[in-house]
């Protein structure tokens, strides 16, 4: 009887330890909150770059001319290294306009922020486009 008691105590102790360790392991595995400050910075940067390109009409001209290579070159130039991007242009009917990918990598599985930008072409034939720029930090 005495021997059994000791065994039960040992099992209980093991159970208690395993419960505590499981709880700690679960806590550590909880997803950490995203770094909102970094995301905010990324979104701000993306908006500012699009505005800079749009101010003198460059952005609209590149879209109108379907010059995706040059648009990619501009984004490569303005965005700091270590940032992944993927840009998609939609027309007024939300049909995709860019026939080529405007990106510097495959962003699948990467947590990204999305900048949505309305672009108006500075020309006599005023056209409206919605630009979606997905940005992510290179992990």
């Amino acid at each position: 009887m005495l021997d059994n008691k000791a065994q039960i105590r040992t099992i209980e102790a093991f159970l208690a330890i395993s419960v505590m360790f499981s709880a700690l392991a679960l806590t550590l595995q909880m997803p950490s909150t995203p770094d909102f400050e970094k995301q905010r910075q990324l979104k701000k940067l993306g908006t500012q770059i699009l505005m800079q390109l749009d101010f003198n009409g460059t952005l609209g001209k590149l879209i109108e001319d379907a010059n995706w290579t040059s648009l990619r070159a501009n984004l490569d130039l303005f965005l700091p290294s270590g940032i992944l991007y993927n840009l998609t242009v939609y027309d007024e009917n939300l049909q995709r306009v860019n026939t080529q990918e405007v990106c510097n990598s495959n962003q699948q599985g990467v947590a990204a922020v999305v900048v949505q930008y309305l672009c108006v072409i500075q020309s006599a034939d005023t056209h409206f486009y919605t630009i979606q720029l997905r940005l992510a930090w290179l992990e």
Binding site: A23, T27, G57, S123, T126
Partner: protein
């Protein structure tokens, strides 16, 4: 004795309770962080600036169209499209962009085209906007005006050469919102009796670009009349056309 026998189970339950408290605390901290950081209104300034920039581009495109012979209603049509697009935006709350076109003289439907004979020409468009954002945490109004004006000023002089031949110099000044601007196209005409002709290489036609919005056009032509009338049509870098006519003075 009974109490002592159950002590192990009590410890087990206590441990279980502690583990649950630990987990719930972690979940609570996560939820609180998520709800306080997002949505985020620090990007509101950029959002407003993009709306202003878009409004400016709409006005530029509209005056470019109207100055090239388009309809006076083009500004209203383009602004309606723009307002419709902006008002679909919901990232920062409910968007409401409204506009009024300048109707004060000399504007009509927000557009003023004056291509005069006194060496002065204007192509201008003006609209006023009010942008309202409303949400649970924000309710803000922003008012701004967009004025796009391309101004052309020309001044000509001529010197008599042999017979009807005249050496003509025309100084051209181009302004965008009262600041010197560059032209992408300059077309000069001079009048011979009732016809308007363009000078070419045979007239020693040359345009000097001073790089600051000032251009000097010179040519030699046979003009029988005592006066020399010139007309200059300029397209600026925003594709806005403007024209001015002038009578050159003899030197």
């Amino acid at each position: 004795m009974k109490k002592k026998e159950n002590s192990g189970q009590v410890i087990l339950i206590a441990v279980l309770a502690m583990a649950l408290i630990l987990l719930f605390t972690q979940v609570y901290v996560f939820e609180v962080q998520m709800s306080t950081v997002y949505p985020n209104y620090t990007l509101l300034n950029e959002h407003i600036l993009t709306i202003r920039l878009g409004s400016r581009n709409v006005v530029i495109g509209s005056i470019a169209n109207a100055s090239s012979g388009g309809s006076n209603t083009i500004l209203a049509a383009n602004l309606n499209k723009w307002v419709g697009l902006v008002n679909k935006q919901t990232e920062f709350g409910r968007s409401s962009l409204t506009y009024t076109m300048e109707e004060t003289e000399p504007y009509s439907s927000g557009i003023w085209l004056s291509w005069g004979t006194e060496g002065f020409g204007v192509s201008s468009a003006t609209a006023h906007f009010t942008y309202n954002l409303s949400d649970r945490e924000v309710d803000a109004d922003f008012s701004y005006a967009v004025n796009i004006t391309t101004t052309l000023m020309i001044e000509g002089s001529f010197r008599k050469a042999n017979g009807d031949e005249k050496q003509v110099n025309v100084t051209i000044n181009l302004l965008n919102e009262d600041k010197p601007a560059l032209a992408v196209q300059i077309t000069l005409y001079y009048r011979v009796i009732d016809s308007w002709l363009t000078p070419n290489a045979s007239n020693n036609y040359a345009v000097t670009d001073y790089g600051n919005g000032t251009y000097l056009a010179s040519f030699i032509a046979n003009i029988p009349s005592a006066t020399v009338d010139v007309s200059v049509l300029v397209r600026d870098q925003r594709q806005i056309l403007v024209q001015a006519n002038a009578t050159c003075s003899q030197i």
